[in-house]
Every structure is written in structure tokens, then in C-alpha cells.
Amino acid sequence: MSAKQSRVEEKLWIKAGLTDSEYELLTSHMKREPNTVELALYAQMWSEHCGYTHTRPLFKHFLTTGPRIVQGPGENAGIVDIDDDEVITFKLESHNHPSAIAPFQGAATGVGGIVRDILAMGAYPIASLNSLHFGHPGDAGHTRYLISEVVHGIGEYGNCLGVPTVGGELRFANAYKGNPLVNAMCVGYMKKSQIKKAIATGVGNSLMIVGNLTGRDGMGGASFASKDLDEENEEDRGAIQVGDPFMEKLLIEACLEVFEEDYVVGVQDMGAAGILSSSVETASKAGNGVEIDVALVPKREEAMRPEEVMISESQERMLLIVKKGKEERVNKIFHKWDLHAVVIGQVTDDGIYRVLEDGKPVAEVPVWSLMEAPTYILEGKEPAHLEKTRRFKNDDIEIPTDLNQVLLELLGSPDICSKEWVYRQYDHRVQMNTIVKPGSDAAIIRIKGRDKAIGMTMDSNGRYCYLNPRRGAQSIVAESARNQVVSGAEPIAITDGLNFGNPEHPEVYYQLEQSIIGLSEACRALDTPVIGGNASLYNQTPEFGAIYPTPIIGMVGLVKSLEHITTMEFKNEGDFIVLVGETKDELGASEYLDQIHDMITGDVPELDLELEQKTQAFILEIIRKCLVKSAHDLGDGGMAVALAESCLSGGLGAEVSFDLELRSDSLLFGESQTRFMLSADLEAADKIIDLAAEQGIEAATIGRINSGNQLIINNLDETLVDVSITDCDYAFKTGFDKMMKTNK
């Protein structure tokens, strides 16, 4: 049977993950039918994971430039300027499907991949963060297993590398039960002059593969990530990569040593679709062709077919474009680190992507055609549930009688409770730059020898986006920026992780489109351009359906002087507590509704982006004037939770009083946006109030910090909450352990 016959009968392209129209398109590009190797190249490069087929048209909304933006989307990672000819590069990446099936390796290689993206920019990786989403651990032993293994995998890889894992988030909802989310972010530092690009310039220059051997692990990972998770692809275990952090550590050392010399013109990490996508991308950027002989690739397995070599996602490999004649020098440095650097091909001038096997061509396609994955603009449809959830009124629920108990329950609830169980498994101090540790609003990492530091955050809120994708996405950007400013950092830019269900479903597409619009609106308003990101679609299972729409925001900010670093804990008894922002009668979408009333409903709190920007600028201004002793953003669980967190972390009590005609639960647990909890001494508190009044920002002194052991919250002469800090502390610190032990 001829190849053509078999294609007609089995439609090999369908099996490879391409549609009939895509197949037609690629044959028109090639002006002939592809052979099996060529078909495999297109199938990988045109997958959502590599080709961003559904998300690319939506990226036009994003602001991607700004005074501090050195590199926007399009490279391995974006770059921002932090003054003094120094730059920070950062990006996040998802590893959801691999982590669902092999949680330890999936999470570990997720870290490895994003670290290599940062390395490929020429930077030294200075910190990692991660955003994890799971089903409720009390519901299933399998979920607890996933949590343990994912955390273990991240820790094992990051710890061994010596890159501190300094922050992130861990959130729970049933929507993630069948499809957990594992998004990892890495931040790198370098001098501006050290920036590398992923470009294959210079005809005749060599393509060198460095690092690990190539095997059959991670076959077709990119296309695996671009379809729904179901039982059938549970069998795609071959698509899971296996990580070796020791190899990666050596790769980092060797690459950085090579980069110090003038041997390398381009660098690309081998991530999704391995040798193939890394070489296509570098060639395409230079407008050149490349020629690769698969026989030259060092392999760990026998008899690999050409397409297997090309798309393998074996870990810890990089592609270097090396100046002709410098290959031996590069190899010498790698050899010092007991690694190899092997020439596998060269840059050509004909614009053709040519794969050889022992010198004989096995694939020849135009480079540009591999990069031009067809894009799809679909018709979205508002999800049916929104009509119902929008109708929610606060009056639909009764106010619980024991508000102390509600506060304690919230402090111990999955999303809010202390995540120390997680971060004590991560080395968060290695490299000796961690000034503010995990468990804070933002991690703060210093730049050695300078009076400045970097704020790092990762935030999301799937529930918000489920209930209002556009405003929910806006709120996440706003919250990330709030986390930065309360820590003393000026928000600079974001990387986004777009985690959604199958976009071919109109309701999911609507969520995707609206979330992207919301993200870009907030990024414009807060002047935090999008400098790179990742899309992970098809996060759904037949049993549990699609995940919540979950855009994840990784943000980096600049602390201009170490003096500005501010943390959430109350510092001194007698200090005054200042609340900035307006508390409204808003309970929709809150953690309180979810945890206490078991309701995921209502609309996301209002958000005025102009006011948000103005208020954040104000907070940063008063922090820079050193008026503020502690600052905390009001997020999950609202004011009462924020107060309790500031009390228990500082080991101090507080009493606050309000005069608001408001439901007591809205006052305590509502999540009205654009609010901040500060503490300051008397003189500073007065100045803060005056400055706020001048700028038209709502701010009020609501009470004082004391050395007692109670948190007391009054409204209109009624005591709503009077709870011991010891109890708050206990609930907060034991919540996670309890959750991991419960079997509902």
C-alpha cells in the first residue's frame, strides 16, 4: 500500500491532529502532498500549543510596549528595564496535562522548561514562582496525591537547581478536579549587554544541540496539550517528559559560561516540539533556512525515526546557533561541565526547512509555512450560567449569627489558609536575595550590590472569571498590581497564562475572548504591558467538563529603594489602622459565599480602573514617603480576613470601628475592590488622610493596634467580631493540614 493510499484510507493527518482544511492548506503551501515526516512537522507546529491557533488573533488587544519594555512577546521571554543598564526577564508556562497524568514529572519539567526559557535570554534565573489549581483535597485521595506530587516535583527540581521558589498561589475548586493547573514562572536577571535572542543568523553558522540526549520521551507533547484530557490520552504517557535537574544545573552553568564569549549568535530552549520548533523559530526570525541531520543528534534510544527525533521533548536541551569556526571552543566549555555540544546542522540561505537522515533529505518545507499556523476566530456565546448567577442578590442569603466563627472558618479555608506546608518544601532562600519570603502579598528579591529589589507575584481567580470573565480578568491584574504596591514595588509588566477549556465550545471561546479583553483593559489602565505568556486550552475532561476560565497573571515590579519594602504584619502597638478605599454592599463571587454559603454565584465586585490606578499611585507615594509601617491588600475574604492576617503575622491585637449602613457580612467579608489596609503612627496616619483627601481618595482611620490578643470589629455601636488572635492563628496555620487529612 502506498503512502498516499494509506493517507486516503486512514486520513493520517486527522490522526496527527490536523483538520481536513488544515491539510488542504499545507498541501497548497508545499505544492504537493507531504510525506509522513513533513506531516509530523506541520501537526506539531500548527497545534494550539506551538501555533496559538485560537489565541493569536486575540493577542491584538494587548498593550505590549512601554518605556521600561525592552522586549515584548515573540522571544523566549519578555524583558523589562530596571535602570542601571540592568534588565529582568520573566515568563510563565503551563504544564497542566503532563501534571494531570504524571504529577511529579509533569510539575518538575514545567519548572525546568520555564527556567530554560529564561536561560535562553542570556539571563541568570533568580527566582521561580508557581500557580497551582486543584480540586478540593477533601473530596478525593487522588487530589491529595496530585497536590503532594506536584509540590514535590516543583521542589525537587527547583531546589536542586539552586533557584529559589519564592511565591505563587494555590487555589482549589471542583472545576479543577479532573484537570489541575500547574503554571510555573521564572524570573532572570542580566546586564542589558548580555541579552540573547532566538535567531539563526549568518548562513553557514552551525546549529549545536547541547545538554541531554534525545529519546522518545515527550513525543508529541505539544499536540497532546492541544486536546481535551480523556481516558484515551491518559494513555499518552509517552508524551510525558522526564526531568533531570542536575543536568539542567550543568546546562545553566555551561551556557552562561559560553555566553560570556562571543561565540553564539542565537539561543533557543527546546521546549514544546523540541528540535523542530526551536530551529524553525530561530530560522524564521532571521528569514533563513536550516538544515538538520537527525543522524547527528546524540540519542539515548535506538532506531528513532526522523520525525521522532525532530519532535521529541526530551528535557534539558538547548539549541545554540554558533559562529562558524567557534564550534570547538563551545564544545570545550561544555566538556568542562561534562556535557556535549554537537553540531546537528547549519543555517542556509534558501528559506527551506530541511531534515536529513545520514545526508539524505527526508523533509523539505518552506520555513514560513511552518510558522503560519492557521488561526481561528470563532463565535463566542455567553455561558448559560451567567443569566442565573447575575440575578443573585445579597438578600438571598441570611447573615450568619456567629461572625467570629465565620471569620475562623474563612481563615482556615483552602484558598486563604497558610500554605507553609507547600513553601517549606521549596528552598526559598538559596542565592541569598530573598528579602520578603513566601506567604506575603509579593515576594521581594534584592539585586545584590544595589539599593533596589524586584517584586514578584502570581495571581488568579477562576471563580471571578467564571462569574464575569471580563471584569474578573481585570480584577486579577488589579490585584496583582495591588500586591506589588503594598510591598513597595512599582508594577512594571505582566506575563499571562491563559488556562481555559476547549475553545471550540462557544461558551469557552466567549470566556477566552472576554478574559483577554478584560486583561488588556486593566493592563492599559495600570500601565503594565503584556510582555509574553502562554496559552493552555483544552483543559477539560468528559467527566468534569471545562475548568473555570483561569487567566493567571505573573507580575514583576521594581522597588526603587530597599527602604520602601513594606510587609503586611502590624508592627507596633498604638499605631493607627487606615483603610483606603470604599467598602460597598458587595457579596457576589466572594470567598465568603463560596465557603460559608456554598454558593458560587453573584457578580464580581465593581472595578473602576481609573480609580484603581489613582489609588495605587497614592499608596506607592505614601510608602515611598516612608509614612506606612504595614500595608496589605484586601482580597479573598475581605476586610476581616485582611485584619486578622495583619494581626496574626505581627502577633498583635487590634480594635476597629465603622459607621456604615451596610450588611455586616458585606462589611466584614465582601470583596469590594481597590481597598488597602495600612498601619502608621499618629503623625503619619494624619498625613496619609490629608494626602488622600487632597487627591480625592477615600481613606479613614478605623482603629488602633494594641498588644492584646483580640481582634475586635465594631459597626454602629455593635460588636460584630471579637475573636482571639490565637484562635485566628490556629485556624490559619492548621487549615491546610486539616484539609489534606479530611476525607469527605
Binding site: C160, P245, Q425, V430, R446
Partner: protein, 236 residues
């Protein structure tokens, strides 16, 4: 006073130790490559933490066979100061320069936290800046930090005052409840019989730079420096 920091493939705290000697103490320091046997003109050697050889086989099991370790042993036999921190401690027990071994934490998980330690012996070149009974806070970050030795070895070490640091709580109480990893007698750091080779799981370098909020560990390096200065003075 020249310091040397060993560099194995997989060492990841070498730069931190280098930073403390170079920037905090302001003393000359250089890296010593694992394949070299020439130590140069060093007065003290730091074996840093990390995952030498990826912890393959056992932590420290491959590193201790490196060419450089032969020279380090000879250096120590002549009375040179050697301090192994975290993986460096593991390398020292693997090379039998210190007794006992470090096995997996009792909680079978990696543990990174700021840990209170009680100074047990302030009369060594590594601890003279402290007083016996002082409580200090140093970060720990390890998966195999559970110190084990034969009962008779422990008795001998206790008798010789070879225990330098014990895990405790903020009040200095030493008990099972204040033992993070299961180490016998809450042992966090020990010295050899001749008093010039130390191994410790906590990271003194990570609490030497006050801007990070911890500085109790600096005393270890300052103690070593003062000892060397006195020794150097006598030599001249």
C-alpha cells in the same frame, strides 16, 4: 587570610558563601574546582551546600571521591580549617572526615525554614563569637539532614564536646518537639576531635547579610577569621 570555596557540579550555595566572604567579610576568596588537586594559598575551606552530582547514589557519595577532596583531607590533617555546610556536611561524613551520616528527614520531606539553634560549645575556631547556651536563628534547607551515628560514637562525641549546634525552640529548649528532622540528640552541627573540621546542616551564610533579615550566622565566619588572624599573627 585567603578563603577557598569548593565547586562541584551541582553545588548551588558556592556563590552565597563566596558572597559572604567577599562582600560581608571583605576578605580574599576563590573557587576551588573539583577536578583540581592544587588548593593554592588558602587558610580556610568552605564546602558549600547544594546537590553535588545531583545527589545521585547518596548525597555527597560521589563528590567525596573527587580529586580535590584528597587535597582537602591533607589540608585538614595539617590543621587547616574546613567547614562543610548542608551538602558540604554530607560530603564530610561520606569522606569520613566527620563521624556519622545524614539520612532522610523523619518527615520524608524537604524542609526549608528559619530554625532556632542552641550553641553547645563556644570554645572552637568556628563558634568563639557566641556564648554557650546562646540561641541563634539560621535557615535550614535539606531533605537528608537527619544526623545519625552509632550510640557509642554519640557518647564519645558528647563527652568530647564535639556537638556545636542543637535544634531548639526560640527559648533554647531542646526536645523532640524542636527537632525538625529527627537528628539524634537534636544534633545540627559537629566538629571533629581535633577541632578544625566542622559539619553543619543549617546555613550560616544565609544569615550573614542583615538586609535579608537574619544575621546570626555571620558569627561562624567571624570566629574563623579571628582564629586565623591570631594563628597568622603567631606564625609571623
Amino acid at each position: 587570610m585567603n578563603w577557598g570555596v569548593l565547586l562541584f557540579p551541582g553545588s548551588n550555595c558556592a556563590e552565597d558563601c563566596f558572597h559572604v566572604i567577599d562582600k560581608v567579610l571583605g576578605k580574599p576568596v576563590s573557587y576551588l574546582w573539583h577536578k583540581d588537586t592544587e588548593l593554592g594559598d588558602v587558610d580556610a575551606i568552605i564546602i558549600p551546600g547544594g546537590f553535588s552530582y545531583g545527589d545521585h547514589l547518596r548525597p555527597g557519595a560521589i563528590a567525596h571521591l573527587s580529586p580535590v577532596m584528597t587535597s582537602v583531607k591533607a589540608f585538614a590533617e595539617k590543621g587547616g580549617l574546613v567547614i562543610g555546610i548542608c551538602n558540604g556536611f554530607q560530603i564530610l561524613t561520606e569522606s569520613r572526615m566527620l563521624p556519622g551520616s545524614l539520612i532522610q528527614n523523619k518527615g520524608i520531606k524537604f524542609l526549608c525554614q528559619d530554625q532556632s539553634l542552641r550553641i553547645e560549645n563556644a570554645d572552637t575556631p568556628f563558634t568563639s563569637e557566641y556564648s554557650k547556651g546562646d540561641v541563634v536563628v539560621l535557615p535550614i534547607a535539606h531533605n537528608e539532614g537527619n544526623y545519625y551515628a552509632k550510640p557509642e560514637t554519640i557518647v564519645e562525641m558528647e563527652g568530647n564536646n564535639q556537638i556545636l549546634f542543637r535544634y531548639c525552640n526560640v527559648e533554647g529548649e531542646v526536645s523532640n518537639a524542636t527537632n525538625p528532622n529527627g537528628s539524634i540528640n537534636n544534633i545540627a552541627g559537629i566538629v571533629n576531635r581535633t577541632g578544625n573540621v566542622v559539619g553543619m546542616m543549617p546555613h550560616p551564610e544565609r544569615s550573614s547579610d542583615a538586609v535579608l533579615g537574619l544575621s546570626d550566622g555571620k558569627g561562624v565566619f567571624v570566629s574563623m577569621l579571628k582564629y586565623l588572624e591570631v594563628k597568622h599573627g603567631k606564625d609571623q
